[in-house]
């Protein structure tokens, strides 16, 4: 992972901070390993002849060394950790601004959950390598080498080698069991969230459950999830306890070797008693760095996988590009579609075929068709979320591909089918397309969308929070806010309503349509209305009936109604006369 430019650039930028951290940690560890040696010297001094002054000297030395070690080590550790957090924030920003560049199709291919897991899991994993990983490898390397140097030079290399053998298995154990524990705890987490999901679903359909007397079945399903949690947690406990037992076991063996072998060396006067005592302390100091070596290997393995996932993500290129020298948006845009055929990259059948029509500036087109007939695809093409072939769509005589997307979108007001709202206040939702807040415009737009009174009656007016995806509002209110959001763009030249009146009651619908009509006459706005409900299309100049991506019917409403057997007149009759006979 250290060769990725994302990381190397960061290291280069903060190289002096890193150098400082390495030096601080290095010196701190060299100081730390003096502690057992001082204790050993003190103990030896008892046999050589002790004085109060000497005791004070050694105790003072211990105190000074401790303070020096803690200060330097703390400084080094903090620096590394802080830099890693800065890197993390930087990485998150890179991800977010990259996502803003990618188009709709990318977000259809990847679920929000998947994308979010990059921010939630991959970025922190990389952070962990940059903070914990670097910090631990520094500590471990310096402490291990310094301790070895002390035991080999000041005590006895054979004793060191013999006692070290069992300890060397520690990193192996960590590398072997560590990832298993990680995997297992993820399984436990998954089981927990499966249980939560099931409980959430059950609570949401509590009415259904009660009205079908299905409670025992739900309890059974819930119990199965809790059993899964139990089984997986116990497996995790088994792994954990094994791991927690193996490390002290290895340490214990090593300590016993030191006791017997070191004892013998002391008895035969090959080493001093002080050296023996110091050695036992050193031995306990070696356990941590050895565990850390194992940890670091695990951390780096995880994070290099995470980092490469992030790299892949950042490599995803936007499919649609702006022209090198874009033309500017015409002031009175008619929309001309010239034998438009569009096929999604991975599909076999075209979504739209041979569409040809013209919407003069200031006129209105209504579009009718089943789900999947190609209505929304047409919207996406007009917003250039999808790229039509050259020469297929013209805005005021300019090929849509010769416009910059920013310019095009600044002049199109769009009301999406799902009417997505942000969780911020309703006023900010309406004012979303504006660069600066403008309460007057927002109020006016709310009025045009017939939502002003509703908002004014809310406890906090325009400051009312609409909740996640507008959950605090009714379906009809959401749609009207989404319409107001589009209408706030007063200089929009094209207005597109993608089935955005379905949840609005008929009275309000007519009122909104009348407001749109007025707007059209004043601003010469070209309007496209897509709807299932034919009542929404009462004022349109032309109607396009789409069927399987093809123009099934096209003409004025009157024309289409007179075509007996046509889809439009068929739908018209269903919706006016009602369907089935009951009873």
């Amino acid at each position: 992972m250290w060769k990725q430019p994302l990381v190397t650039d960061f290291f280069k930028k903060y190289r002096w901070d890193y150098v400082m951290a390495v030096v601080a940690v290095g010196i701190s560890k060299i100081i730390q390993v003096q502690i057992p040696n001082i204790i050993g010297n003190l103990i030896n001094q008892f046999r050589l002849g002790i004085t109060v002054r000497l005791i004070q000297h050694y105790a003072g030395e211990l105190a000074v060394v401790s303070i020096g070690y803690v200060l330097l080590f703390g400084l080094g550790q903090f620096t590394v950790g802080k830099l890693a957090r800065i890197f993390e924030a930087h990485l998150r920003q890179r991800l977010f601004s990259h996502w803003e560049l990618l188009e709709v199709q990318y977000f259809q291919k990847h679920t929000v959950g998947d994308l979010l897991s990059h921010v939630l899991n991959d970025v922190p994993t990389v952070r962990q390598a940059m903070a914990g990983g670097i910090s631990q490898i520094l500590q471990a390397a310096f402490l291990f080498l310094a301790t070895l140097a002390m035991t080999v030079t000041k005590i006895n290399w054979i004793l060191t080698a013999a006692s070290l053998i069992p300890l060397l298995l520690i990193p192996v154990v960590v590398v072997r069991i560590g990832p298993k524990i990680r995997r297992q705890s993820r399984l436990v987490q998954e089981a927990l969230s499966e249980m939560s999901d099931l409980a959430e679903e059950s609570l949401q359909s509590i009415r259904l459950i009660k009205s079908t007397a299905n409670e025992p079945i739900e309890t059974q399903r819930f119990t199965r999830k809790t059993d899964l949690i139990y089984d997986r947690s116990m497996d995790l406990v088994r792994l954990n306890t094994t791991f927690q037992a193996l490390i002290p076991l290895l340490t214990g063996i090593s300590f016993a070797i030191a006791l017997v072998f070191g004892g013998e060396l002391t008895l035969t006067h090959k080493i001093s008693l002080g050296a023996f005592v110091a050695f036992t302390v050193y031995l306990s100091m070696l356990v941590r760095p050895l565990m850390q070596f194992g940890n670091v290997i695990n951390i780096f393995q995880n994070s290099s996988a995470s980092l490469s996932r992030i790299e892949t993500l950042l490599k995803a290129k936007p499919q649609i590009t702006d022209p090198a020298s874009p033309q500017s948006m015409p002031s009175f845009p008619s929309v001309t579609i010239q034998d438009l055929t569009f096929k999604y990259p991975h599909s076999t059948k075209p979504a739209l075929q041979h569409i040809t029509l013209k919407i003069p500036a200031g006129s209105t087109l209504g579009i009718v068709g089943h789900t999947g007939a190609g209505k929304t695809t047409l919207c996406s093409l007009l917003l250039r979320e999808l790229d039509p072939d050259p020469g297929a769509i013209f805005i005021g005589g300019v090929d849509i591909r010769d416009l910059s997307r920013a310019d095009l979108r600044d002049h199109v007001a769009y009301v999406p089918q799902e009417g997505f709202l942000f969780s911020f206040p309703v006023g900010d939702n309406i004012g979303f397309p504006l660069t600066d807040s403008n309460p007057a415009l927002v109020t006016e737009a709310a009025h045009k969308a017939r939502i002003l009174t509703t908002i004014q009656n809310m406890p906090r007016g325009f400051a009312t929070i609409v909740g996640e995806r507008g959950i605090n509002l009714s379906g009809g209110q959401r749609q009207r806010v989404a319409i107001a959001r589009a209408l706030v763009k007063i200089d929009a030249k094209i207005l597109i309503l993608d089935d955005s009146l379905s949840a609005v009651d008929s009275g309000t619908e007519s009122s909104i349509l009348a407001a749109l009509q007025e707007l059209r006459q004043k601003n010469q706005t070209t309007t496209i209305i897509i709807s299932h409900r034919l009542s929404s299309l009462r004022d349109v100049d032309h109607i396009l009936v789409l069927e399987d991506g093809m123009m099934a019917e096209y003409g004025t409403p009157k024309d289409l109604l007179s075509r007996l057997g046509g889809l439009y007149s068929h739908l018209y009759h269903i919706q006016t006369q009602g369907g089935a006979h009951l009873g």
């Binding site: 005791i55 303070i67 990618l102 099931l198 409980a199 007397a213 037992a245 017997v260 009873g583």
Partner: protein
């Protein structure tokens, strides 16, 4: 806290009762483990004082001590291994029971409870509160026993070796406690700040990923990036602050540990010099003094666990203490499962608050097999009527009978088997299409499922799905249209086979062709059943045997379509107002 201590704790202990013998065993194992930990430094002390300081060389005893050391280590490890596993076993079993009990109880609560309580809150109760309760058993209890014992044993060992030096060494204990107590709130607060900033950041990213299309279509990428960074950098700062406190705390402990060693070296050194203690005792003291740190730290940490478990326990107890509002009668009448299906409302009055009547003196009767429509504006009381029939609420006055039996004299589960309600919003489960039709009931066969789907016309679209009946659905499954969901709900109803069918008609977003299929399905399931339809589009009930028009909680008009049109009252007004009429005038 004062309010919650005591009671919730006792409630928690009730769950532990079946495992009390196990807990005694666990305590035994903890004692063994802790003893081994205290004996280890003592063995080294013996080696130093008895064998290494004397001048004749004897390797034998040293080897024996080495073996003893290894044995002690092994015994300690095994004791620790089993103790941890047993604690986890008991904790997991307990939390499993609490979860199931809680879930079963929540299911039994009244509809009113769900309408007045946030279900998100209940969900937290089921998932995170129970997890925190389990930490009480797996972490807090264990820590109190293990860490408390460690401190006592280490202190005891020091006092036995040399009580004067031992007493002086215990000075570090209050210092450790003070440091822990001083740092803990900072650690906790900085942790909480970081968490809440992170969750706001994640919420923002999730929302913007979902609404990326809106951001792009309105060309607001810059604005949103700016908003993102207004969350991103404060999170970074909080995270650095958290890390800073973490390091300050850990390094303070580190420093204190080393200074304590220096302190013992000084005091102990003087004692050795004056022959008050042996050299090995000094070694043992140096080892022991370091053993104080981690148990005290873990105890203070677990104090927080205790607090959060108690808060969680209190919340869970509150839910468990809520009684199911409607109880079954003591001697319920068994309704006839294949009886005719007559309904009678007699002078029914209902309100939540006497000042605001919801239903006033509603009386009507439905003959078996009839098709009834209920019309009226939003808030007229149509849905309440249905809730009363399903006994989600009890009437305030009057009574409701099904086949001559007051519904309050039946078991609720029996009543619900008689009546099926198809709601406006069709709930889907995460599961296959087949699971969704049979509602996970194992006694429903695949033939029954397919039969129901064929009967209601759902079979056609199901077979067109990539995996047919095994297609996986999700609750917010955008993979099915509103009409298809309706058809699934109809198939469900056929499987349930109720005598009485109540249909809260779906309004929006069904395209016309699917609507025809839905209407056809409706005819199928309504056949041979008493059917009540709450109509939003009046076209659906045009052919009803009788239509009741509701206004302000009263039935204001009744009769079939033609009769009501003849009245020139509210019904005919509603028909005229309907958008369809509007449109036909426009286009005609």
């Amino acid at each position: 806290m004062a309010k919650t201590s005591g009671n919730p704790l006792r409630e928690l202990m009730i769950y532990a009762k079946p495992y009390r013998i196990l807990f005694v065993g666990i305590i035994g194992l903890v004692v063994i483990y802790n003893l081994t930990q205290v004996i280890q430094p003592y063995l080294v002390k013996v080696a130093i004082d008895r064998y290494l300081l004397v001048h004749q060389a004897h390797l034998g005893p040293i080897a024996e001590i080495g073996i003893a050391y290894l044995m002690i280590t092994l015994i300690g490890l095994v004791a620790n291994l089993f103790q941890t596993r047993l604690v986890a076993f008991a904790g997991q079993k307990i939390v499993r029971e609490i979860r199931i009990e809680l879930f079963t109880h929540i299911e039994s609560l009244s509809m009113k409870y769900f309408e007045t309580h946030d279900t998100g809150r209940l969900l937290t109760n089921v998932s995170s509160d129970t997890t925190r309760i389990s930490q009480f058993f797996t972490q807090f209890l264990l820590s109190v026993i293990r860490d408390g014992l460690t401190i006592v044993l280490v202190m005891g060992a020091m006092l036995i070796l040399n009580w004067k030096l031992g007493l002086m060494a215990t000075i570090v204990v209050p210092i450790i406690v003070v440091i822990s107590v001083v740092f803990r709130p900072h650690l906790r607060q900085s942790y909480n700040t970081t968490r809440s900033r992170l969750s706001r950041l994640i919420g923002f990213v999730a929302e913007n990923l979902t609404g990326m299309r809106v951001v792009q279509v309105f060309h607001q990428e810059q604005k949103q990036l700016h908003a993102f960074n207004n969350l991103n950098y404060p999170y970074q700062d909080a995270s650095i602050t958290e890390y800073k406190w973490d390091i300050l705390f850990n390094r303070s402990f580190d420093l204190l540990g080393n200074l304590a060693v220096a302190f013992v070296a000084w005091l102990g050194g003087l004692a050795v010099m004056h022959h008050a203690i042996q050299l090995g005792v000094l070694y043992a003291f140096i080892s022991y003094i370091q053993q104080f740190f981690s148990p005290i730290n873990s105890l203070t940490q677990n104090w927080n666990t205790l607090q959060s478990s108690m808060i969680s326990a209190e919340r869970v107890n509150n839910v468990l203490a809520t009684p199911p509002a409607l109880s079954d009668p003591q001697y319920p009448i068994d309704p006839d499962p294949i009886g005719p299906g007559a309904i009678a409302f007699e002078h029914v009055i209902f309100h939540y608050d006497p000042a605001q009547p919801v239903l006033q003196n509603i009386s009507f009767s439905v003959k078996p097999g009839q098709f009834i429509g209920i019309a009226g504006e939003t808030g007229a009381g149509k849905s309440t009527l249905i809730s009363l029939l399903g006994r989600f609420y009890d009437v305030v006055e009057g009574r409701i009978q099904v086949d001559g039996v007051d519904i309050r004299e039946m078991r609720q589960s029996d009543l619900h088997r008689l009546i099926a309600v198809v709601q406006q919003e069709v709930h889907l489960y995460s599961g296959t299409i087949a699971d969704n039709i049979r509602l996970f009931r194992n006694d429903v066969t695949m033939e029954q499922i397919e039969g129901a789907a064929v009967a209601t016309g759902a079979d056609t679209f199901i077979r067109n799905l990539p995996n047919g009946y095994n297609t996986w659905l999700t609750p917010r499954g955008s993979n099915l249209s509103a009409g298809q969901r309706q058809l699934l709900a109809f198939a469900r109803t056929v499987v349930l086979n109720p005598k009485i069918l109540v249909l809260d008609e779906a309004t929006a977003n069904i395209d016309a062709v699917t609507e025809m299929a839905v209407q056809a399905g409706l005819v199928k399931i309504a056949a041979n059943r008493t059917t009540i339809v709450i109509a939003h589009r009046l076209s659906t009930i045009r052919y009803a045997d009788c239509i009741y028009v509701m206004h302000d909680g009263q039935i204001v008009e009744r009769g079939n379509h033609d009769q009501l049109m003849g009245l020139h009252g509210r019904y005919s007004e509603m028909i005229q107002k309907a958008s369809i009429t509007n449109q036909s005038e426009q286009l005609a």
